[in-house]
């Protein structure tokens, strides 16, 4: 199961950045996000998988689909990058991935053998706890950030034009 999800993630993320139709790229991104939720399910983090499905696969992909429909003609192909640019970007990415993977393979991770189940109640308590292991400050910061970005999105998208 893990290898199926891994193949889906790698293949579809590559298609998402190379497809020449924007709508198809968006659908490939959706597949990548769903496979990521699958990864969270197979390591028993059901709450994370739920958040991934709702916010990423549901919300963000829907927003991108709306943006595509408002700005592109469906079926139009976008211009492909020049060969030089593709080769340079490919070399940079392959070099970066090579360095990172070689470091990862050389490092000996001390894997924990405990298999602790997670429950949603603990996550909720930690998010609102201001003592040890509490995350109430970043929680409030994120809530202010979401409010500010909501206002900013409305202001930017509803700007009036002179012409």
């Amino acid at each position: 199961m893990f290898y199926i999800l891994a193949t889906v993630i790698v293949v579809f993320s590559f298609l998402a950045v190379t497809s020449r139709k924007v709508m198809r790229a968006t659908v490939y991104l959706l597949f990548v996000l769903l496979a990521t939720a699958g990864l969270y399910f197979i390591i028993d983090y059901n709450f994370m998988a739920g958040i991934q499905l709702i916010v990423y696969a549901g919300g963000i992909v829907a927003l991108i689909v709306f943006a595509v429909m408002l700005t592109e003609k469906i079926g139009d192909k976008i211009e492909s990058p020049s060969n030089m640019q593709m080769i340079l970007a490919g070399l940079i990415s392959i070099a970066g991935a090579g360095v990172t993977i070689s470091v990862l393979l050389g490092h000996d991770f001390k894997q924990s053998t405990q298999n602790i189940g997670q429950n949603v109640a603990t996550i909720g308590e930690n998010l609102l706890n201001y003592g040890k292991d509490g995350y109430v400050l970043p929680f409030e910061v994120v809530s202010i950030l979401l409010l500010a970005s909501m206002i900013a999105a409305i202001v930017v998208a509803k700007r009036k034009f002179e012409n």
Partner: protein
């Protein structure tokens, strides 16, 4: 926990996803496809946090909670970026980065 699959396998997946995102970020010309590449990068980072939480420090919840914050920030970022893209399209009739120079006027 799955038999025979260690933390390194997950890290290799997220590394490949991250650098595919970097490749897309460099080569793409259309603003929406650049946004898709950024989503791939953010998702790879969130996978890393969750996997480190699960395999290296399972007694805490820090990785999961930071992944939740990363997802919230990604949602906010996409909302703003799409508002800007739609505004840009209305003034410019295109979503090509080469023309985004006019945004400063």
């Amino acid at each position: 926990m799955i038999q025979g699959i260690g933390v390194t396998d997950f890290f290799i997946i997220s590394t490949l996803m991250f650098f595919i995102g970097v490749y897309g970020f460099i080569t793409r010309k259309n603003l929406i496809t650049i946004l898709i590449a950024i989503e791939l990068i953010l998702n790879a980072v969130a996978i890393n946090f969750v996997i480190i939480n699960k395999y290296l420090y399972p007694e805490g919840l820090h990785g999961q909670i930071f992944s939740i914050f990363i997802i919230a920030v990604a949602a906010a970022e996409v909302a703003i970026a799409i508002a800007i893209v739609i505004d840009f399209y209305r003034t410019n009739k295109s979503v090509n980065v080469d023309e985004s120079e006019m945004m400063k006027y």
